[in-house]
Amino acid sequence: MAKSLVQEFTKGLWKEIPPFRLVLGLCPTLAVTKAVENGVGMGIAFTAVLVGSNILVSLLRNVIPAKVRIACYIIIIATFVTLIDLLMQAYAFPLSQKLGIFIPLIVVNCIVLGRAEAFASKNGVMASTADAFGMGIGYTFALGALAAVRELLGTGSLVGEIPYLFKYSVTNVFGPHFQPFDFMIQAPGAFIGLGLMLCLMNLAAKK
């Protein structure tokens, strides 16, 4: 049964949100969520790649021979990632420095290849675009939410800038006597933070 375009879009925002429900793309989720600006920046770059890749794969779905499809998807995805990487270095340099190697690593992000194989190769361009935007925006929310928790607990404030959009600086959220929970900024905190989010999402889904 075909879903409407709106449904294709909204499923990525909650019901099938990539890191928490599809449980895909966890490595960068853990790594870039130390600060909200990193998480959201990564989400935006990721969405650009996902949209480009889904559209192109969907357009070429009847041309790409099945036997070499993975190779073709990788060429397409790697090209988009490199383009985004170069554009970020040129026009959003500080963010590109902060995200470092995780931008090129979008190539091996399971979500992108997963959506290409599971969806874009079997559906029309409009549906694939909606799917990509939904998944991408959902991913950005997820990263932002996890990063907000980690940054707030780990430093007691949220400070940063989304290039070309806005700067924010919310300090001393828990008051001046708050002892920052350093642990949340580091790797173990990432795992535990992610685990708790997964738990909450599962509880919400059960209802």
Binding site: C72, I75, I76, F93, Q97
Partner: protein
Amino acid sequence: MNEMIKMVVVLTVLSVVSGGALAYVQTSTTAQIENNKLQFIKGPAVKTILGKTSNDPIVDRFKIDQNSFFVGKYDGNPKAVVFESSGKGFGGDVGIVVGVELDDDKILGVRVTTMSETPGVGARAKTDTTFVSQFKDQTLKGTFKVKADGGQVDAIGGATITSRAVSAALTDASKFYKELKPQIIEKAKAVK
């Protein structure tokens, strides 16, 4: 047979188109990226090394072949230059900027600018200034080697390869500083 041809053709066309797109974007963004690196990475390093100058060393820069030299003027007189060098590190080239006083070839400072070394290990060459501070006031002459190779340079604990890279970069720097010194002094005086 037909299937094989189709596969080859599709892959080839895809690769050619993507190669073309990448080449195009790369050439169009090179200048902007160079500017960004200058502004965000090298600029601050150059200014830290030169300290308080009466000019803007980023604006007063000249090139000899492919190398950029940033001039530091004190009270209007060009007294020092900062230039780049690099050495082969663990994960690629380790780029440094080294500041030299033109009168006595004394090193004003060294900073690591670009590198892909291991975070927490070799990357400490960039983040931890105690390693590079040992070069201050030494003469930019001859070869620089880590103590493990018979030289004088104190390597970073556990990061010998990165330390070697910085030493190699300094050795290279002293070599072409010596070769180009007359040109450097001439151009430094001429820069407006």
